[in-house]
């Protein structure tokens, strides 16, 4: 995907849900465009709707109304299996809680998306190594997540998100469970990936300083609405 083209475009994307008697407007008519190769930081306080918006972009959730176009295709109109394919091939996801499977080694965790994408067994090993080398974990293949530090686990999760060579990386509070040094290391890696691979990155965070330091652009959400969208100061 070349710079300047729209990778993601939401058009009054809305996600409402009911929690008991309460009606929640998690994402409320958000219109946003992310160019291909852009590194966007989505800022906001807890409950502002940024993670919900990220889930909508990932195809893990469906908007109540509005449209979400990724590379020109509207996720709101996709079937469940098309959304699964979208998650498998178009986007890679990194979570605050790392979400590595504890019963698998790091190598097996990173291999999992390749299994789901039915990549040939012979090709998998090379791609797993390549992804782990990129995040500087090439020597920890056989370790289980519990044998890795938080920073290593998040780098492992990043390798897993990259292994299927997606065009978009969605990161939900990737530094939330890390100390500042490890957090900075992760963001440095994200920036490096963004610049070397030209990968579009949308990162949810509540740390404005880091967001402004590493992202190309910062958008701010509050109460489900996009209240600020512009280049960093």
């Amino acid at each position: 995907m070349q710079d300047g083209q729209s990778a993601i475009r939401t058009d009054k994307a809305t996600r409402h849900y009911r929690l008991g008697e309460e009606f929640i407007r998690a994402v409320d008519e958000v219109s946003l465009e992310v160019r291909a190769g852009e590194f966007l930081a989505l800022l906001g306080s807890s409950g502002s709707g940024k993670s919900t918006l990220l889930n909508l972009l990932a195809g893990m959730d469906r908007p109540t109304s509005g449209a979400i176009h990724v590379h020109g295709r509207n996720l709101a109109e996709m079937s469940a299996s098309e959304l699964a394919q979208h998650r498998r091939k178009i986007v890679g996801m990194v979570f605050q809680a790392f979400n590595l499977l504890p019963k698998m080694t790091l190598e097996e965790n990173v291999e999992l998306p390749l299994r789901l994408a039915e990549v040939e067994r012979g090709e998998r090993q090379a791609r797993v190594r390549e992804a782990l080398e990129r995040v500087r974990l090439g020597t920890r293949l056989r370790h289980r997540p519990t044998e890795l530090s938080g920073g290593e686990q998040q780098r492992g999760a990043l390798a897993r998100a990259l292994v299927n060579r997606p065009s978009i990386l969605l990161a939900d509070e990737p530094t939330g469970n890390l100390d500042s040094a490890n957090g900075e290391q992760i963001l440095t890696l994200l920036r490096e990936i963004n610049q070397s691979l030209g990968m579009t990155i949308v990162m949810v965070t509540h740390e404005r300083a880091l967001a402004e330091r590493f992202a190309d652009r910062v958008a701010v959400m509050s109460d489900g609405k996009l209240i600020e969208d512009g280049v960093k100061t």
Binding site: N55, D61, A84, Q85, R88, F95, N99, L101, L112
Partner: protein
């Protein structure tokens, strides 16, 4: 996801909760074991009954008699133009013709007669029966004292135990001793003599064509049999001294049909009262029976009895199968429980898989694979346990039979089709039990699943 990867993941998941999954698999194994054990008894008993009946010579035999035997013999005494057409005689020519029919392996007459037997100079009256060579395969001769006849023309005898007890207080010691059979041989009267006799008779009843000559013949006792062996249809019981059928035929003993022939005036050729026709396979019975009927004889078999027997055993197997399946039904609840527990425990894992691109189908297939793996393992285990239970029941039965002085039998059988069917059934039941958990896992919302701690 590819099948190999799916299977690998499923096995890994099953190993994660080894104890619980092993117990569930054992439950399936016990269910299948009960099913296999029940059905193996049904199949074994059916095989035992079929084998016994087949070896009795009753179900692969056609019984042939001249039509006169069925319609009665009084008509021969009537005179006049309405005299019915003379039925075909069941004689040596007919026997040879029947022998040449396709799939016929043996044709022999039923020879049974009352005779005097002398042992150590004392006379005993008993029924003598001819035994065909093929009867050596009959279960009745298993475990007998001594041996079966050394050959079809051997001058040897087998005593039924009750008769042997009449001869000696220690009946089994009779083996190797000799008995003398006294009987009446049917001897043809020369043609001229017969004509003279006919001329002298003016009663209208035709004269006899043979005379009866008293004879004696010595037989070596080779065996003493405890049971009362069947000798084809009509041969049940009664035979207390058994001799080879071929030898019995050569004795040319006057039998009941000779007297009938005498009364009906048909004395031209010695005939048979009845013949037993053995065929290669019970399924050949109908064709042979029809062919014999077309030759002008009465023929019947006990084939219908085997059909009924098969029906009885099918119903019996069905009932056993239903009872055996109850344990499997309980085991299937165990699978559902285990997999539902697995969904609760692996909720987050399912969320991660979905976030990484697993389709609903992948998730449901993973749970089906786990259920199927428990079914395959439990099925194989169950077949082995069921087989062992069957063997144990057979062993226990044989110990009991042995104490009763009876021969060992095999009352359980696990043929390949039963093992394969049981395995298939285990897999089908396991997959059916996996339907609800698999669909529930597939429907999980990934966002909710990832929030789960």
């Amino acid at each position: 996801m590819k099948a190999g990867d799916m299977a690998e993941l499923a096995m890994r998941n099953l190993r994660e909760a080894l104890l619980r999954n092993s117990l569930t698999t054992l439950g399936v194994g016990v269910g299948i074991a009960s099913l296999v054990a029940m059905l193996s008894l049904g199949v074994g008993l059916q095989e035992l009954a079929t084998k016994r009946l087949t070896r009795s010579g009753l179900f692969d035999s056609v019984f042939v008699a001249p039509r006169t035997n069925i319609r009665g013999f009084g008509r021969a005494f009537r005179e006049g133009p309405e005299k019915p057409e003379e039925p075909r005689a069941l004689d040596e020519d007919a026997r040879q013709q029947i022998t040449r029919l396709a799939n016929v392996i043996e044709v022999y007459p039923q020879i049974r007669f009352l005779s005097e037997v002398r042992y150590l100079g004392n006379p005993y009256t008993t029924v003598v029966a001819g035994i065909p060579e093929s009867a050596s395969a009959n279960d009745a001769y298993e475990g007998m004292t001594g041996t079966f006849f050394s050959g079809p023309s051997a001058d040897e005898a087998i005593l039924q135990i009750e008769f042997a007890k009449e001869l000696s207080d220690q009946p089994k010691t009779l083996v190797g001793k000799d008995v003398v059979l006294r009987y009446m041989e049917r001897q043809a009267i020369p043609a001229q003599a017969r004509a003279d006799t006919a001329k002298a008779d003016d009663t209208g009843v035709l004269s006899s064509g043979f005379s009866l000559v008293p004879r004696e013949k010595s037989f070596r006792i080779v065996g003493v049999i405890e049971t009362d062996p069947a000798v084809g249809f009509g041969g049940f019981g009664g035979g207390r001294l058994l001799i080879p059928n071929e030898v019995a035929e050569h004795l040319r003993i006057a039998q009941m049909n000779d007297l009938r022939g005498l009364m009906s005036g048909n004395t031209r050729k010695p005939g048979y009262g009845s013949l037993t026709v053995r065929v290669k396979n019970p399924r050949d019975i109908t064709n042979v029976e029809n062919a014999i009927k077309q030759m002008g004889f009465s023929a019947f078999s006990l084939l219908d009895a085997t059909r009924n027997l098969r029906l009885v055993f099918t119903v019996f197997d069905l009932l056993l199968g239903i009872f055996g399946s109850l344990a499997l039904a309980v085991a299937s609840l165990g699978i559902i429980n285990t997999l539902v527990m697995a969904i609760l425990e692996r909720r987050r894992e399912i969320g991660i898989l979905k976030a990484l691109g697993a389709a609903d189908r992948d998730v449901s297939q993973l749970f089906f694979a786990e259920a199927g793996a428990m079914g395959v393992t439990g099925g194989i285990l169950g077949i082995a346990i069921g087989w062992l239970i069957g063997r144990a029941i057979t062993l226990g039965t044989n110990i009991y039979l042995s104490r009763q002085g009876l021969n060992a039998v095999r009352i359980s059988s696990v043929p390949w089709w039963l093992a394969l069917s049981a395995l298939g059934f285990a897999i089908v039941v396991s997959l059916a039990a996996g339907i609800y958990p698999a669909s529930r896992a597939a429907r999980l919302n990934p966002v909710d699943a990832l929030r789960y701690e």
